[in-house]
Subunit: 174 residues, 2 copies
Amino acid sequence: MSDRAAWLRSLVRDIPDYPVEGVLFRDITPLLAEPGALKAATDLLAEPFAGQTVDRVVGIEARGFIFGAPLADALGTGFVPIRKPGKLPGPVVSQVYELEYGTDEMQVQADAIEPGMHVVIADDVLATGGTLAAAGALVEQCGGTVVGHALLIELTALGGRAKLDAPLYSVIEY
Amino acid sequence: MSDRAAWLRSLVRDIPDYPVEGVLFRDITPLLAEPGALKAATDLLAEPFAGQTVDRVVGIEARGFIFGAPLADALGTGFVPIRKPGKLPGPVVSQVYELEYGTDEMQVQADAIEPGMHVVIADDVLATGGTLAAAGALVEQCGGTVVGHALLIELTALGGRAKLDAPLYSVIEY
């Protein structure tokens, strides 16, 4: 792990028993509050894609916006928000995905990702991988190709990486 | 209006009758998808605060994250998310505010804004000003001072500016 990644990791706060008992929540808000940390995270998230064609970075509502938008800028490309149902105007493409209990749905504007586009998916934390896999399916529904996943944090014990076809790059691993 | 602001304005898409009939929705997603536009917007949002003390930029969930996080970085300071209830771990401070029908609530972590801090509030669109005024009240509950509001778009006909005590800077006006 690089010095910058170690610094970023030191800024993540552990919150036991959140959101439910037995879960150790990795709270990124102290990192966000630290001057220069978002810039350092963005640089590290961008590194794996240097020299690659990236046409869009998508970010998953809501915390994926915090990392996805600056990453798009760092890669010299545009940002596309993936949102909860009913939040995006105009025609949308939808993807239903499973949660621990029940299902949820995410949407992207139908014209936001054009066929053949190379897309990076950004989010803050990879846990079980269900959300990220659904975002990938959404990109593919639009005819795009997922060239990689850019994550601040990977919770390796949950095995989410196995759900993803495209490469996963995470700055901090637990 | 500067050339850059005019360019950004040309990237906003008008969607009639969204989310309800009679409302003209200003859709910022084409702007976000345009390479370099978020950077230009961030530069313009940062300009009014050059030379001022800014200790934190807060962004209002969810689209406020897209502009607030890069703005914090541009101002060399940290970012604080204001979120919907139940999304932030640890002790929080809450603010209830009125919607057209009913009320909503927003929260910030209790230790995210310290007494005496100079805070900029960022969001994408100023409409009636209710959300922004509530965010300001939340900052003041924490002992912070709102030094300004940084908005991509101001819908002037709705008069939201009158609800705000601190200065409002918007890149695009309608």
